[in-house]
């Protein structure tokens, strides 16, 4: 069986989720590798969610929010941007490739753009191969100690 990456999508309710919805209702084709979770705002993305996803088998995480200036809660997307910038640095130190996490602004009218982002990200993550963070590895202590 060929390798199919699993990507978690964390989408804000007001712009990006509606954008993804538009991609669907417009019947725009994009890879089925993304699993979408709707959040109220991209600022709701706690770095813990990303760690959890990666440790439970996600090969990549895509976070989408409203364009700068358009946040429903005025500044949530800027908070997401700040956290994302530091998160990327931390993940790099863990040895996680930068391309596995991505932050994009998608408005409610950008169904086409959403489909393009998902297609592009799926291909990039596919090229990287499975994440080195292995789910359920090291659960048994006997395996861990030489």
């Amino acid at each position: 069986m060929s390798y199919e990456p699993k990507i978690l999508g964390l989408l804000c309710n007001w712009c990006s989720y509606t954008g993804a919805d538009l991609a669907g209702t417009s019947r725009i084709q994009y890879p089925p590798n993304i699993r979408i979770v709707r959040l109220m705002c991209s600022a709701r993305v706690d770095p813990t969610f990303v760690f959890d996803a990666l440790s439970k088998g996600a090969d990549g995480v895509l976070i989408c929010g409203c364009h700068p200036g358009d946040c429903h809660y005025s500044e949530g997307n800027y908070k997401a941007l700040r956290r994302f910038t530091l998160l990327k640095k931390l993940l790099q130190a863990y040895g996680v490739e930068n391309e596995r996490i991505r932050l994009e602004w998608v408005s409610a009218s950008e169904g086409q753009r959403f489909a393009e982002i998902v297609t592009d990200m799926t291909e990039r993550v596919r090229a990287l191969g499975p994440s080195r963070i292995q789910p359920a590895l090291h659960t048994d202590h006997a395996e861990r100690c030489p």
């Binding site: 770095p47 440790s55 700068p68 941007l81 931390l90 863990y94 040895g95 080195r132 590895l137 202590h141």
Partner: protein
């Protein structure tokens, strides 16, 4: 022989600096009271007692074991398992046993690199000297063994079932006292609890004035003359108080140092570093990606800061295959 009516206790150190044992001694004259009500059966740093004595004990003969230090080598693991078997209550004492502690930072590198730095490439090593330790050495027909160094550092809970966790680097002597008293009186909370700490965060207990947090630049402590009444984070000095469990008595911020997170994540926090990252990044006062990037660049080696005491307890490190 031991007096069976007395409380039977053991204190042990795994991969540790000895500071936790000093924290026990820092209870001052209280330790003499402990000696009155308890038999200290093993305490390598302060009292006699051999592993063979522990091996000869019945299972559950010890009422209480305070285990400090991480599990770094085969000796640490052997004694941890032995003491687990012999103890009714096993307490992970201090940050290393609780979360991996400072030794846990070694999980950011490899066993081979550590070995090379210590024995091969260190500037203080005589050129050409290749004396290195080996797990087993044969000499005159007999064999000498030393403990095996593991690939990574474990917290005590990774190796054995732990009953209670007493955080801190080192635990505050007052808290050590409280926990020992609780054991004597039989007033311990449910198993698996964190004891000798509070359910609040360090920020909750910190007396510094807190206003709106917006930071234009991060400072290392020596780069700035700080205002000792204002929140350190608001002054751009890294402080983990917002994500860290209290109970320490706010020792660091009271001494004009940012909290380093030794008491571990606040209750209900799953990953200490992730929560701190979230809090810290959100106070950056900029909307410009380039500026934000530059500010993040002022945090060299952020991972070691965010997980100074808890690398082996972090979500990703637990699962990361190197």
């Amino acid at each position: 022989m031991s007096d069976k009516k007395k409380l039977q206790i053991a204190l042990y150190w795994g991969a540790a600096c000895g500071g936790c044992d000093v924290a026990v001694l820092d209870t001052n004259e209280f330790i003499l009271t402990v000696a009155e009500v308890a038999d200290i059966r093993l305490w390598p740093i302060a009292a006699d007692g051999k592993y063979a004595d522990v091996e000869a004990m019945q299972d559950g003969e010890l009422d209480l074991t305070l285990f400090n230090g991480a599990v770094r080598n085969s000796e640490n693991e052997h004694v941890a398992k032995l003491l687990r078997q012999k103890s009714k209550i096993l307490v992970a004492f201090g940050a290393c046993a609780h979360m991996g502690g400072i030794p846990g930072l070694a999980n950011l590198t490899t066993k081979e690199d550590i070995f090379a730095t210590a024995y091969l490439n260190n500037p203080s090593i005589e050129p050409g000297n290749r004396t290195v330790p080996r797990p087993e050495t044969k000499l005159n027909g007999s064999s000498l063994e030393i403990p095996t160094f593991f690939d990574r550092v474990f917290k005590l809970g990774d190796v054995v079932d732990v009953d209670y966790f007493l955080p801190g680097c080192p635990p505050a002597p007052e808290q050590v006292k409280n926990v020992l008293l609780a054991v004597v009186k039989g007033e311990l909370p449910p198993r698996k609890s964190v004891v000798g700490a509070s359910e609040r965060t360090v920020c909750d207990d910190c007396k510094r004035t807190k206003a709106e947090k917006k930071v234009r630049r991060f400072y290392r402590p020596f780069e700035i003359i700080q205002d000792s009444t204002r929140c350190l984070l608001e002054q751009g000095i890294l402080c983990m108080g917002s994500a860290t469990r209290s109970g320490c008595g706010v020792r660091c911020p009271n001494s004009n140092q940012g909290c380093r997170g030794c008491y571990g994540p606040a209750p209900a926090v799953k990953d200490h570093g992730a929560k701190f990252l979230s809090a810290l990044a959100s106070i950056i006062d900029s909307k410009d990606p380039k500026e934000i990037e530059a500010m993040v660049g002022q945090l060299p080696d952020f991972i070691s800061f965010a997980y100074r005491f808890g690398m082996p307890a972090s979500i990703l490190e637990r699962t990361h295959h190197r």
